[in-house]
Symmetry: C2
């Protein structure tokens, strides 16, 4: 009976803002019956330019908030938070925690296994690249693998501004960031930030057809499915999962931009005052 | 005696991050003897994409922190905070508060008074433009004045990334944002964000020699001088003012990037844990 109750609990997902809705989109694709509670910490976005310590603190706030909804799993739908805080979150949360970095790295190694070009590129925010998390994760699978990393600070604001794949600014910025990567004969390029899948067509155009583009969000969604299945925690429903969204900033902006990220109408967005998020949870002082 | 003590108190300056250091640079130019205490709220930067309510809350936190250092004046070196929170700050602070919007607007009206082209353009963050603060301020001086506003969300991250005036990305982004403005035959263009003065040469190249560029930070510095002089609060020293900096995020990053904004070496940066900044000051609940 208890197990039955657990199965129907929601999946808790958090992100620094809107980007994580691309992960929600992937989750809904593979697990359409699951309820999702989403927190976008838009009042403190972007995490990608902050120190790792600050990102860790914010992530603990976010997870603490989601735990009030008794989720069966927490998904860190933000590469920066996954890179900076996954271990701390795992220690803190009483349920499984899935991030985006490990699944993204695993998939990149997998798709290049039989390719002639095995080098893997990673593009992400400044903080994610600085953390070295993708490099470590890839090297866990293959200690010899060539890995090239490039931070792309302008891509998040470019996506949030609503610029799309065929905007000349998008293409010139991508050419600028990816110039080195183009020379490296990559087998795969990890889109290590949840905003980047919205620029997939432009990135594909710049990198050419031989480079497999790995969406870390899609990889994370598959990992969530695998883990829930292993723990026998998949919902018994196969469709009609509900999405409940919270944001720490303007719900109107969340609604307006959210649809582009989530690929579906966002019906219900509630505001969480940031004070409430920052209520001192006991773990705060324990973070290294 | 009390007046003498008051004169030698520092000027408190806050900003959402590093941008306000361009205002510090202008302050130091006109008032080289004044001590300055600067707070850059880098853990919660950028303010420009947040709701006005959130910006108001953050601004009150920042001012509260500066008041501990018993400043003789508070300078809001952030256009977004000036636009959203100036009235609330004036009510809250026991000393004079100077923002960037009113001085910038006044100067734009002044320099176009005898020009054939009197229209004024304003470029700023999303939140500043949305607030309508520049439009209102200009119309206070001249109710008929044509005003054109354009938000430029990419310019802050572009400057923070270290791109400079001759970077092709900078020029193509500016051409994109300023296309409409170029057609309007402006007399002046207000750089309504403290980051923009770092792109002055590129903006001048795009707008041409007939458009006067108004740095809101420089205008604010002149206003600070005027007000301190009126209240007989100018320091008796004419050189050697000290700059003490605080940041809510990584001091190392502040130091590294700060020099570009401030035009001088930043010797001393101390970290303020964000908890401390968010200590509940009584005014928080009173903000409308």
């Amino acid at each position: 009976m208890e197990a039955q109750v657990m199965k129907e609990r929601p999946i808790g997902v958090f992100d620094s803002g809107l980007g994580g809705l691309t992960v929600v989109r992937e989750l809904t694709r593979v697990l359409p019956g699951e309820d999702i509670v989403y927190l976008g910490d838009s009042a403190r976005v972007p995490y990608g330019i902050r120190s790792l310590e600050t990102v860790r603190r914010f992530s603990m706030d976010d997870a603490s908030f989601l735990l009030r909804y008794e989720p069966k799993m927490i998904v860190v739908a933000c590469n920066t938070a996954s890179a900076a805080a996954l271990d701390a979150l795992k220690e803190f949360c009483p349920v499984e925690v899935v991030g985006t970095v490990l699944p993204g790295a695993a998939e990149a190694v997998e798709v290049t296994r039989d390719k002639e070009n095995k080098a893997v590129g990673v593009i992400a925010t400044e903080a994610t690249i600085q953390s070295g998390a993708y490099l470590r994760a890839i090297r866990q699978h293959d200690g010899e693998r060539a890995v090239y990393a490039q931070s792309c600070p302008l891509l998040v604001p470019i996506v949030e501004e609503g610029r799309s794949d065929d905007d000349p600014i998008v293409l010139s910025v991508l050419h600028d960031y990816l110039r080195e990567m183009q020379r490296k004969r990559l087998g795969a390029l990890i889109l290590g930030c949840t905003h980047y899948p919205l620029l997939t067509n432009a990135i594909a155009k710049v990198m050419g057809p031989d480079v497999s583009l790995i969406s870390s969000g899609r990889a994370a969604a598959k990992e969530v499915q695998r883990r829930l299945s292993l723990s026998n925690l998949l919902s018994s429903r196969s469709y009609g999962g509900r999405l409940r969204c919270f944001t720490t900033d303007n719900p109107e902006r969340f609604n307006r931009l959210g649809e582009r990220f989530g690929g579906r109408r966002i019906d219900q967005v509630e505001r969480v005052p940031i004070d409430e998020l920052e209520s001192r949870h006991p773990a705060t002082t324990e973070i290294p």
